[in-house]
């Protein structure tokens, strides 16, 4: 090792330490980690929040599973998950959860000459396709749903997520509700043992593979389908109506739920009633401790989400997320006041 070289590196290190020493003073930035689905909107909110209040909130997408693990390991102030935890699991860990924004999962296809919304499928047919039982686009079941569309005889190429994902959880939860076969053979989880098809990494990977493969069908988050102008399909919902995936259709799905009855907001918005409801919708959740070790940090985090509920709806809509209805927000804030308490037994988010 030449000495001039090591000297240079040492100087760099010294500089680095000096830099870091200078910034320790305001190190109170809150950090959260978890689901990838809400990462863009949390980043957007955090940026606007910092501009307005000067407080930073650092959210990083490491996956819902990662978010649950990290909040349990107490390495972050809050965790985030696309899959709500069951009330008993929350109780065991001393956690509470609340939703922040909604989105939906949209099946997308690549068929020559087929425009977005031109093809209609229903739940059982969709399940059969993803089970590998329907293998061709001109199958009788698909024809029956689309009497006016000229369907090609292409083989169906199924594209699914390879990485564990909240999107897969919501999607498989829907298929399990509408198809007993799916429930028995595959089930519901963030990753599955898929009976057929190719796995692609991330929404990006699914979108790219659907775009490249003639005759393919995949599923992506709504924001993705919208931003990339993918060929979505119509789905027949629980009331027998064929609906297009739109923000209104997701809100309609949420509107039918009686949130006051849902313990810890444990609701998965699949196959909800309502003539206008899109059948595969879901919310994304935040996990915090009921009695946090660092009540101040958790209080800051709740303050941030309180701000986001009040000021963040337009930003969410811009990025193709669906804001929560106002009465749900009221319920959430009431649950904070009741559940998230400091060591002194008072709510960590001071009432105004």
């Amino acid at each position: 090792m030449s000495f001039f070289n090591r000297g240079g590196l040492m100087a760099a290190l010294a500089g680095a330490l000096a830099l870091s020493a200078g910034s320790v003073a305001h190190a109170a930035d809150i950090s959260g980690a978890g689901a990838t689905f809400p990462y863009p909107i949390y980043a957007k909110w955090a940026d606007a929040y910092k501009k307005e209040t000067g407080n930073g909130l650092n959210y990083q997408s490491i996956g819902s599973g990662g978010g649950i693990k990290q909040i349990k390991a107490k390495t972050v102030t809050f965790g985030a998950s696309d899959m709500p935890l069951k009330p008993e699991e929350l109780k065991e860990a001393g956690l509470t959860q609340f939703p922040t924004v909604m989105g939906g999962v949209v099946p997308v296809v690549n068929l020559e000459g087929i425009a977005p919304g031109q093809i209609t499928l229903d739940g059982p047919t969709l399940a059969k396709i993803f089970l590998g039982e329907i293998t061709s686009w001109d199958d009788a079941a698909i024809k029956a749903l689309n009497p006016d569309v000229k369907l090609p005889s292409d083989a169906i190429a199924v594209v699914h997520r390879s990485d564990g994902s909240g999107t897969t959880f919501i999607y498989s939860n829907y298929l399990a509700q509408v198809s007993p076969d799916w429930k028995a053979k595959v089930g519901t989880n963030t990753s599955l043992e898929w009976p057929t098809g190719i796995g692609a990494k991330g929404n990006e990977g699914v979108a790219a593979n659907v775009a490249q493969t003639a005759g393919s069908i995949g599923y992506v988050e709504y924001a993705y389908a919208k931003q990339n102008k993918l060929t979505f399909i119509k789905l027949v919902n629980a009331e027998g109506e064929a609906v297009e995936p739109t923000a209104e259709a997701f809100q309609a799905a949420a509107g039918g739920v009686d949130w006051t009855k849902a313990e810890d907001f444990y609701v998965i918005l699949t196959n909800e009633p309502g003539a206008k409801s899109w059948p595969i919708a879901g919310a994304t959740f935040i996990l915090v401790y009921k009695k946090p070790d660092d009540a101040a940090a958790t209080g800051e985090a709740l303050k941030f989400f309180d701000w986001a509920y009040k000021n963040g709806d337009a930003m969410a809509t811009d990025l193709a997320y669906v804001p929560l209805p106002d009465d749900l927000v009221t319920l959430i804030e009431a649950s904070w006041a009741k559940n998230v308490l400091g060591a002194d037994g008072k709510p960590v988010l001071a009432a105004k």
Partner: protein
Amino acid sequence: MAYATRRLRNLVMMTLCVVSAAIGLGWLLLILGALLYEGFSGLSVAVFTQMTPPPGEAGGLLNAILGSLLMTGIAVVVGTPIGVLAATYMAEYGRHARLTQVVRFINDILLSAPSIIVGLFVYELLVRRMGHFSAIAGAVALAVIVIPVVLRTTEDMLLLVPNALREAGTAIGAPRWIVIRSVAYRAARAGMITGVLLAVARVSGETAPLLFTALSNQFWSTDLNAPMASLPVTIFQFALSPYEDWQALAWTGALIITVAVLTLSILARTLGGRREGR
């Protein structure tokens, strides 16, 4: 074998060699071309002066670039002396020791161990104990990757130093550690610098070990005890997002890393070349 057959066989084989060289270079050009095409359009001053933006707004990669520089820098400062000292033991003091053989083998395994495993190790070692993600943990994970690269090249270079030089040093009465410092290190200097640069090149593109250690950070942060952004993680997150402006930044970030790594490689090669030429 008839002369004509031998000539023909030679011609065929040599043509195949030229073809394989053409394929190798063609591939490089294709990949670099795609990268330049996608990454160059997003390159601007803002990339180097602004923070990573939320989707839909203008911004840059400054915090990610800084984080990468800082963590890579610390990793090299920590990893290099360890690698060099271990290599010194193996090439100088314990050339025939059993320990040397074992360490050499172990080092080769570390050299090709998947980096995600290194990330998991440091997560258990530091993040879990400290209770939060931090740039220090990220730097340590990178240092674990730096050590085997530096060790390997330094040992190779020290073994190439002719023994006559060492003997000359010892003959004038210099103790061993001075011989090593002033003779062996000096003779092997260019090769050792090459090793360090190669190590930098290797770690500056690593995503997996940082994801569970340094995490990332949306904002400007120089606090080593807090999560810190880095280019590879930012590229990874932005490339897989649905928003075009984020994807463009991801390509630009990829271009920056590649150019930096390639520059370092060329630098390392020319330094190494000068040594050979001397």
